[in-house]
């Protein structure tokens, strides 16, 4: 740190405090709890079929090729969003952007850790809560554990990942988090009925 500081004229030893959107916000209702998830590392990964093997290897998780699926390993989840698009979420504090940087095969990796926020919706009424604004069929048959999809929640776009039978991770853009959290909260209060 001292070395770096010497390069520039002043300060720089201080570091900006991270202030995630709606940090710590939670709402409990009968049958469901909605809460903001801690920050995670994320990239938007785009690549042709031919690059998937080296990228999977570098990321340590096999990029899924089946629509509406995800793969998870060691705190890192790869969500299929489109035929050449994956959302990589790393909750273990490792940097997928750096991992992809080593790959020479054709791809685009763009850091979006701060673009998205994650919201957990968990409990027996979780699916009903999400269905307040999401028109997809969220039964376990149609949307099993591990299913992932970009979709709609009310008037916001979200990415939805089923993390367990009764729990979802909702990802939305940072500035939509207030809307999405509030809608999920209001829906949660109705969901057990």
């Amino acid at each position: 740190m001292a070395k770096a500081a010497a390069n520039t004229k002043a300060a720089a030893s201080a570091s900006a405090e991270r202030r995630p959107a709606l940090a710590g916000r939670t709402l409990s209702a009968p049958g469901v709890k909605v809460e903001m998830l801690p920050p995670a590392e994320r990239i938007s990964l785009r690549a042709p079929q031919a690059s998937l093997a080296p990228l999977s290897k570098a990321l340590g998780v096999t990029l899924p090729v089946k629509p509406k699926t995800s793969a998870m390993k060691d705190g890192r989840t790869a969500l299929w969003l489109g035929p050449d698009e994956w959302l990589i979420i790393d909750e273990a504090g490792n940097n997928p952007l750096a991992d992809c940087a080593k790959v020479t095969a054709l791809h685009s990796a763009v850091g979006i850790s701060h673009r998205n926020v994650g919201i957990s919706v968990a409990g027996p009424a979780a699916a009903v809560t999400v269905n307040s604004g999401c028109p997809q069929d969220l039964s376990l048959e149609a949307f099993p554990v591990g299913a992932a999809s970009r979709t709609i929640l009310g008037k916001s776009e979200i990415v939805l990942l089923r993390t367990a039978e009764d729990s979802f991770r909702v990802e939305c853009w940072r500035s939509f988090s207030d809307y999405v959290f509030t809608l999920l909260s209001e829906a949660a209060s109705d969901a057990a009925n």
Binding site: P67, K68, L81, G82, P83, E85, P135, Q136, S149, R150, T151, I152, E157
Partner: protein, 98 residues
């Protein structure tokens, strides 16, 4: 709300995830700068707007984000079929022309 089959997601998904993107199979001329006024008019401004079967572009904008093509009947509002962008215009439609 309609269900639309996305050829990339390989399943029917709610209409809310989609956006219409106008008529399909109108290719941008490769040497567009050399187009005559008449040809450019046809390419850019003139659309078929038929009563009956229409070939359209849709985008699964809030899903896989892919543009794809669809055949829809403007009378019944029913989708006849959907197929990936770049695939040729289907000559035979399912359920049609017995």
């Amino acid at each position: 709300m309609l269900l639309i089959r996305c050829p990339y997601c390989e399943e029917e998904r709610p209409e809310l995830e989609f956006r219409n993107a106008g008529e399909a199979h109108i290719a941008r001329p490769t040497n567009i700068a050399a187009e005559s006024d008449d040809d450019f008019e046809k390419f850019f401004f003139i659309r078929a707007n038929p009563k009956g079967v229409i070939y359209e572009r849709w985008r699964h904008i809030h899903g896989c984000a892919r543009f794809f093509n669809a055949v829809r009947d403007t009378v019944t509002d029913k989708f006849v079929m959907t197929y990936k962008a770049g695939e040729p215009k289907p000559t035979k439609l399912p359920g049609a022309a017995k």
